[in-house]
């Protein structure tokens, strides 16, 4: 084997540079093709992750826990106690990355100009920072400073509609636990940016302040929890239900079915699109390789005439294309890595304005190289292209040397 390699390796390498234009074109076809596949895979994966985060990391969790009946009638009447016992133990285990408790109640917000409906969320800022991106999206003022913060954080568009601003006061009215309408003035301490619907819908205040306002003592409306991947969700939901049999525990697939379906479909679409791109590129490479090998039939005939066994001719061709495609694959991988490196702080979609939100993505796409995907696509391109050269080479090696050498001159 080694002696065969010593015989054929210099021949294969020099053959590649015998026709530099053809070699460079093939390397470019493979390199640019693979680069486009790898880069788009990274981009689409970032888009998919961003759109999932946009759904899950605003106010929806991966898993939500409520009192029975809350989802049908989201009032403080359907409240629950803070997690304790088995439930708390499980939520604090390594199965979960983080969780947060909230009070979530329908409210009316009133400025001196306008009265609008909102959903008031009583949040614990430290826990909230781990489950939601909203605390990091404050564009004016500040986020809540503690569970008993008496200020309120509103969405940018809501602030505009209420004609209010940071430092001014608004009044919130909610239905309290005893059924009467409770109201309280809050100072606007911060304005957050998010998709327009979220900006209009949600207002955030300290959880203790809201608990006091609604008269529910330490009662809460929901717990949102994150485990990371969606794969283990059904199992985790089952375990949580076992730990807290009296509560309504759902994954986001149930709570936000449309977003879940879109995210799942989008991932499938990415996969299909990538494979289509992959197939098109493979056809291009195969075609180039077929032409390159067929036009060298005479040369292979000569090698056989000189006494090279057909199998060795095949090996020589395979070696040549392994080297050739290998250089192209390396080029594609390097280009793709450089492309990802070019955006260390993510790809800012600010230029798309609200358009990006409409199709579900965040403002910034964080590009992330998945080594397994890179290895898989690169290896597939490499192996398929080498296999594609073997077929015409095998045909060439089956032709008698006389017939092969009768073809066009070297």
């Amino acid at each position: 084997m080694m002696s065969r390699l010593r015989l054929l390796l210099p021949l294969a390498w020099r053959n590649l540079w015998r026709n530099p234009r053809r070699t460079v074109i093939t390397i470019l076809v493979v390199g640019v093709g693979l680069w486009s596949i790898l880069s788009f895979a990274v981009l689409l994966e970032a888009w998919s992750r961003s759109s999932r985060d946009t759904t899950l990391k605003l106010t929806t969790g991966q898993i939500e826990i409520h009192a029975q009946g809350y989802l049908d009638d989201p009032t403080v009447a359907h409240r629950m106690a803070p997690p304790s016992g088995d439930l708390e133990q499980l939520l604090k285990s390594s199965e979960f990355q983080t969780f947060a408790s909230r009070v979530r109640v329908g409210a009316i917000v009133q400025s001196e100009y306008k009265t609008l409906p909102v959903t008031l969320i009583g949040a614990s800022p430290d826990a909230e920072r781990k489950v939601s991106v909203i605390p990091s999206q404050v564009r004016d003022g500040r986020y809540l400073s503690g569970a008993d913060d008496t200020g309120i954080v509103l969405g940018r568009n809501l602030v505009r509609r209420l004609k209010t601003r940071v430092g001014k006061r608004v009044v919130l009215m909610v239905q309290a636990a005893d059924g009467h309408l409770a109201e309280r003035a809050f100072e606007v301490v911060g304005v957050f940016a998010a998709p327009e619907q979220t900006e209009n819908e949600f207002a955030f205040a300290g959880i203790k302040t809201v608990q006091t306002l609604t008269g529910i003592a330490d009662g809460i409306s929901e717990v949102v929890a994150y485990s990371g991947s969606d794969d283990a969700l059904p199992e985790l939901v089952a375990r949580l239900r076992k730990a807290a049999p009296g509560l309504d525990i759902q994954s986001w697939a149930t709570i936000a079915p449309l977003e879940y379906a879109v995210s799942t479909l989008f991932n499938q679409f990415i996969l299909m699109w990538l494979w289509t791109m992959f197939a098109l590129m493979a056809i291009g490479i195969v075609n180039t390789q077929l032409m390159a090998v067929f036009e060298r039939t005479r040369e292979f005939g000569l090698l056989q005439a000189l006494g090279m066994r057909p199998r060795l001719v095949l090996f020589e061709v395979a070696l040549e294309s392994t080297l050739l495609i290998g250089v192209g694959v390396a080029l594609g991988v390097v280009l793709a890595l450089l492309s990802v490196q070019a955006f260390p702080n993510g790809l800012d979609l600010g230029f798309l304005g609200r358009g990006a939100e409409m199709v579900g993505a965040g403002h910034i796409l964080y590009l992330h190289v998945n080594p397994a995907d890179f290895a898989l696509y690169s290896l597939l391109v490499w192996v398929m292209s080498v296999l594609a050269t073997l077929w015409p080479a095998r045909r060439a090696s089956k032709v008698s040397p006389v017939e092969a050498m009768a073809r066009a001159a070297i």
Partner: protein, 236 residues
């Protein structure tokens, strides 16, 4: 005399579309060790077809071909490749050197295929290149050699494995008169000095006049086979 090649009743038919073409019609021919033979005949007479059949490049439709007593018509592709590697040297009209290899590497390539160890094959390659008068040009690639020099490399390559016979197909067809005569003199000298057996398909009168045996083929059959002394065969 020892027979190197023995052809008995060799027939070759081609199909050209729907037409059956008989290229060889029962050729009987023996080439002896040390023969310096020309195979002449008009275009389409079957010269190259016979040469290809003897060299194991093509299979006859019928008949028997023996090289050094071994029947080759029933050999498979691998065995035929081995036969060509070890027993037959080829010189083609179009030189057919491997363009990416230097002169010495082209010669060495055959020895590498045979599994000869590096130092021995380099020494042998240089020796045969010296025999064909290419000392000093060993490291040139074919593109930097003249037609005559390339054909000499091809002869050196054919001789490298010390084959039973060298088959040359129109070896002078692409060469000018002076270069062609030099090449014929070279092959004749190799035949004299080393006893190498040559069979050359040609219709070049200069080649024919320098061979000691002159075989004529016409319409796929041998029509004359004449042995002569070189002195009688000087050009008219």
């Amino acid at each position: 005399m020892t027979a190197i090649v023995e052809c008995r009743g060799v027939t070759k038919h081609y199909r050209l579309g729907t037409i059956d073409v008989a290229a060889l019609r029962g050729v009987d021919l023996t080439i002896d060790k040390g023969d310096f033979a020309s195979l002449a005949g008009p275009s389409g007479s079957g010269k190259t077809t016979l040469l290809n059949a003897i060299g194991g490049l093509d299979r006859p439709t019928k008949g028997s071909i023996k090289i050094e007593g071994h029947e080759i018509t029933a050999l498979n592709a691998n065995a035929l490749a081995d036969l060509r590697l070890r027993k037959i040297g080829f010189v083609f009209q179009a030189y057919n050197l491997i363009p990416v290899l230097s002169a010495v590497e082209n010669v060495e390539f055959i020895l590498q295929l045979m599994g000869v160890e590096a130092a021995a094959r380099r020494a042998r390659a240089k020796e045969v290149l010296r025999d064909v008068g290419l000392e000093g040009l060993e490291n040139r690639r074919p593109a930097r050699l003249s037609g005559g020099q390339q054909q000499r490399v091809a002869v050196a390559r054919a001789l490298a494995s010390k084959p039973a016979i060298v088959l040359a197909d129109e070896p002078t067809a692409n060469l000018d008169t002076k270069t062609a005569e030099d090449l014929i003199a070279l092959m004749s000298g190799l035949n004299d000095r080393l006893g190498t057996t040559f069979l050359m398909a040609t219709h070049d009168a200069r080649v024919i006049s320098r061979t000691r045996r002159h075989i004529v083929i016409s319409d796929g059959g041998i029509t004359s086979d004449e042995r002569r002394k070189l002195a009688e065969a000087e050009p008219a």
